[in-house]
């Protein structure tokens, strides 16, 4: 399992634990609250309340029936009977009771009006009837009907009790669903937090492991020999600093690697130059002595031949001298570069070289406050002069010869560029132009740029060439701010 997933799961786990605990506790609480709210004791109490209310209602009805029957006994068909009944109504019944005598044909005679019932009032669900009634048959097809309103407060209380009982019973029936209904939103929130937590954790971890993975890829590239790899710096935190450090390390390693390769090549070239100088130098003296002997021993007699002999021997001797000069330069090239490093203000050095150029338009740009670096100023001046001479020769055919010199610096390097407005160097020649015996000039030995590179390498630096801003050649010299002693010793040994 990758670090990314491990970290994501760890973050998720830490996030989920409190949420899951909260959900479980909530579930427990919901269950307990429902147990209390829907307890059997509450159910029994409400049931008893409803039963008592019903018994009271039915007792009232029985009482009214008894009272109606009592009144019916007083009934006679004559006027006295009616008067007695009316009088009895006042003593037996309540003023709010309604008393009606109903005949067979539906005729109704109201003996007592009583309270007027508001039949339009909204009746609560399961409330008792608004009134109770009793009916007793009289003689001759008449009937006595007594209606007594049920007190509203009693009705409301009874209805509330009944309704509450129904709610408790109904919810007890659905207790499982009810618990799930209250608990499931929390479970939903839990799952939501799980998903959101996972997404956020993955994003957070990706922000950490992404740069690490890119660094791993970069390391693998370096291991595979791809030295020009650079990891994009996308953050300003420690990971960003790590990436910057990695890139700097790779660049430094790349430069050092190329430098080591150049040093090895340079050592080979020097050995070849030394051997060549040795092999060429040895026969030169015998050749010269022999030629001079030939010319000295000619007895004369043939003027034409003597003139030809003198001319030929002169040419041979001159060429021998020329070869001596070449051998001397080869010997010089074959010698290790001996530096005498002292703290050197490179910017000032460049300005001095620029001041010595007379036939060119020189542009100098130097960074301020560049600290002196350990370098051999004579050797560096020699290099810069050499490059300036090359620039002048390269721009001979130009309408105006231009020389650009810049000096900049960073934490590790001082970078000097020398560029001209000449024809430039073809890209496929740029790598090999520093090799010896490659000269673009007639009569040149091709040792100039090789010597330049040798001196730069001796300083622990590098030199490259590319196209400049004016289209000509631009040499870039990178000199380390501190020249490691071991590099110098190594160079000297080489």
């Amino acid at each position: 399992m990758s670090i990314r997933w491990r970290l994501a799961l760890l973050i998720l786990f830490v996030t989920v634990i409190p949420v899951a605990t909260g959900v479980l506790v909530t579930r427990q609480l919901v269950g307990e609250i429902l147990d209390v709210g829907l307890s059997p004791q509450l159910d029994s109490a409400l049931d008893a309340g409803v039963r008592q209310a019903r018994e009271a209602y039915r007792a009232d009805r029985r009482e009214l029936q008894a009272q109606a029957e009592e009144l019916a006994h007083m009934w006679t068909m004559d006027e006295d009977g009616r008067a007695i009944l009316v009088q009895a109504i006042e003593t037996v019944l309540k003023p709010e009771d309604q008393v009606i005598i109903i005949a067979d044909d539906g005729t109704r005679e109201v003996l007592q009006i009583g309270a007027v019932l508001d039949n339009d009032a909204v009746r609560a669900p399961d409330a008792p009837p608004r009134s109770i009634a009793a009916k007793v048959d009289l003689e001759d097809g008449l009937a006595l009907e007594v209606t007594r309103p049920v007190p509203d407060s009693w009705r409301d209380d009874a209805a509330l009790t009944a309704e509450t009982l129904q709610v408790v019973r109904g919810l007890r029936m659905q207790r499982s669903e009810l618990e799930r209904m209250y608990w499931l939103p929390f479970l939903g929130l839990f799952l939501l937090s799980l998903v959101v937590g996972l997404v956020l954790a993955l994003r957070l971890v990706k922000g950490i492991t992404g740069p690490v993975n890119r660094l791993v890829d970069g390391t693998e590239d370096v291991a595979a020999g791809r030295w020009n790899v650079q990891v994009p710096v996308e953050r300003q935190d420690e990971l960003g600093q790590l990436t910057v450090g990695f890139n700097t390390m790779v660049r430094t390693l790349n430069l050092q690697s190329r430098r080591l390769v150049d040093l090895e090549k340079m050592a080979g070239w020097r050995e070849m130059a030394r051997a060549l100088a040795h092999e060429v130098k040895n026969p030169l003296t015998p050749i010269q002595l022999t030629v001079e002997e030939i010319r000295a021993r000619y007895p004369g007699g043939d003027e034409k031949y003597e003139a030809l002999l003198k001319e030929c021997t002169r040419i041979v001797i001159e060429e021998v001298e020329s070869l001596r000069s070449v051998v001397a330069r080869f010997r010089e090239f074959s010698q290790p570069v001996a530096l005498e490093p002292v703290p050197t203000d490179i910017a000032q050095l460049v300005r001095d070289v620029a001041a010595m150029q007379r036939d060119m338009k020189v542009e100098v740009e130097t960074a301020d406050n560049l600290e002196p670096i350990p370098a051999d100023p004579d050797r560096l001046r020699q290099i810069l002069m050499n490059l300036a001479v090359n620039a002048r020769e390269a721009t001979t055919l130009c309408q105006e010869s231009r020389l650009g010199l810049t000096v900049k610096g960073d934490d590790d390097w001082v970078v000097v560029t020398v560029e001209d407005n000449g024809p430039g160097i073809a890209p496929n020649e740029r790598e090999r132009i520093f090799e010896p015996y490659r000269s673009g000039k007639a009569g040149g030995l091709g040792l100039g740029l090789a010597l330049v590179k040798g001196i730069i390498l001796a300083h622990g630096g590098t030199i490259t060439v590319d196209a400049g801003r004016w289209g000509g050649a631009r040499f870039t010299i990178r000199l380390p701010r501190t020249t490691p002693a071991e590099i110098r010793e190594q160079d000297h040994a080489g």
Binding site: R6, R54, P125, L165, Q166, R172, M173, R180, L184
Partner: protein, 218 residues
């Protein structure tokens, strides 16, 4: 060590999830409704069915009906021949109600209105289906074996009362104030519960019946 830790994390997470997802245990009634007897017979050129059930109104349904809430009893009786489509089918619903104040029990349905003195009488009435006219006997094939299927479902809460209770659940203080604009609980409850909690159901399929054994011959 790292692998062990990760395994522990996974196991703990799974345990928590399973514990969270486990639903509450649902009580199971010890007494189950059942079809005791059925009879399919032909009389007056009609196929009649008699069904005797038992334990149709269980304790929970009785308790809700007793409190004044109304229950519902849904019957479905079908006679199948060789086809998957029934040759005869009857579906009807009875409403089970209790008048708290008069203490009377009512069984009401299409062309049915019974006034009963007790819950036991209501149970007895609902458990006995007599002389149900299922289909004309002429639609029977004497060579085919028929099967009688009976399905009865008793819902302790009618939809009206279910809605009333839902209002209590989704509102606070007896329906006077909204508890939540978005009632997540109600949504989830309806999704999972569907208001069918505590229902009693019974299904029965008879052995093959020949028309001859119904007392019918063409």
């Amino acid at each position: 060590m790292v692998l062990l830790t990760m395994r522990w994390l996974w196991c703990s997470t799974l345990v928590i999830l399973m514990a969270s997802l486990a639903g509450p245990a649902v009580a199971d009634d010890a007494v189950r409704a059942e079809v005791v007897d059925t009879e399919v017979r032909v009389a007056a050129d009609w196929v009649h069915v008699d069904i005797q059930l038992r334990n149709l109104i269980d304790m929970r349904t009785a308790s809700t009906i007793d409190s004044g809430l109304s229950g519902v009893c849904v019957y479905e009786v079908s006679l199948f021949g060789n086809s998957e489509e029934p040759v005869g089918r009857r579906v009807w619903t009875l409403s089970l109600e209790h008048d708290l104040w008069e203490d009377r029990y009512y069984v009401r349905g299409d062309q049915v209105d019974h006034d009963l003195p007790s819950l036991a009488a209501m149970d007895s009435l609902c458990s006995q289906v007599d002389n149900l006219r299922l289909l004309p006997a002429s639609r029977l094939d004497p060579e085919v074996e028929y099967r009688l299927t009976v399905s009865v479902e008793v819902l302790p809460l009618a939809s009206v009362d279910q809605d009333r209770l839902s209002q209590y659940v989704s509102r606070r203080g007896g329906g006077t104030r909204e508890e939540l604009d978005l009632d997540l609980g109600s949504i989830f409850g309806r999704l999972l519960g569907g208001g069918r909690a505590g229902r009693t159901s019974v299904s029965y399929t008879s052995p093959p019946i020949r028309p001859r054994s119904m007392g019918w011959s063409p």
